[in-house]
Symmetry: C2
Subunit: 190 residues, 2 copies
């Protein structure tokens, strides 16, 4: 796999529950080092269109042909606006990964969904689909799901695109931009 | 000079003349490779507070102590909202540089200022102050002004922070973010 492989990283901006929308930032990077493009969209907080927004972002960027994979910071954008990576993959033919620093607490998530959403079963089904893989790193492990890739390809993509710490640069940089433009200065970790 | 030196790059977003404000993005990078933070502000288009906005951005970031220089994409943010880099340097003690890809056409600028601004002489004086240096690169030359540095330090900072093409990464990345969040997808060159 080439070191200069094009990766799209996607993350949402922090929001308060007074807000209706959350900013979504996409970044196109070559491997983990060179930022090529910044994409911008938004999703309704706790809405249901995050899958469509990701599909649109991928299919509409002029970098589409160069992209080899998209990496999402977790499986939701804008609260519990769940991204169905299988559906995005089917609509775009672009392999997809979700990456999280912490192991999701599925019982907590299920409880929150049941409490707040009439359509909780639909969201829950998307969140639970696919296999969660624990990937060891030199620091703490990260947790990933993927579609359109083999496990060894997923691991290689993480290796190529991680510079410091454990989070691949496209996800880390999308997070810095999304939090920076919302809060005035970027804070926290992807 | 260390390769990992912290540089703040500042650029504004493209705007239409229906808008009153332009987004200003600051990025803190280590050398030309690693994005550490994204800062966000705004200036009035054709306003007079760009110097104050830059001063505030520098003095308020939690990365202030690590910063060694700030690089601006040209001398204006938000149309003809002129940045007095000498004044920013005096208020922050941070060395400042302006960088442009094209040699400014000072006669054109003077004409535009005279046509549109009653305070054109104030703006003109700031734009003209300092010496414009033509810096050769392996591609086209770039044009810089600086304060708080020697010419050889300015050249070294450009060398350290330029990866591809002629524009240092902190300015290039600030430009990509500013144009990406405004237009939906980043376009054009810093």
């Amino acid at each position: 796999m080439k070191q200069q492989i094009r990766i799209l990283g996607i993350d949402d901006a922090p929001f308060t529950f007074n807000e209706k929308y959350s900013t979504v930032i996409g970044v196109v990077m070559r491997g983990g080092e060179y930022l090529e493009s910044v994409l911008h969209s938004q999703v309704a907080i706790d809405g249901t269109e995050a899958t469509a927004i990701c599909t649109e972002m991928i299919n509409q960027t002029r970098h589409r042909k160069q992209l080899k994979v998209a990496m999402l910071d977790g499986v939701c954008l804008g609260g519990f606006n769940v991204v169905d990576i299988k559906e995005v993959y089917e609509a775009t033919a672009l392999p997809m990964m979700t990456i999280t620093r912490d192991k999701p607490d599925f019982e907590d998530i299920k409880h929150a969904l049941k409490t707040h959403f009439r359509d909780w079963e639909t969201r829950w089904k998307i969140i639970r689909q696919g296999t969660l893989h624990k990937i060891p790193t030199s620091y703490n492990p990260i947790y990933i799901k993927y579609v359109g890739l083999s496990l060894s390809e997923a691991k290689e993509l993480i290796n190529i695109s991680t510079i410091r710490g454990v989070i691949p640069e496209p996800v880390r940089v999308a997070h810095l931009i999304a939090s920076g433009i919302t809060r005035g200065e970027s804070y926290g970790k992807a």
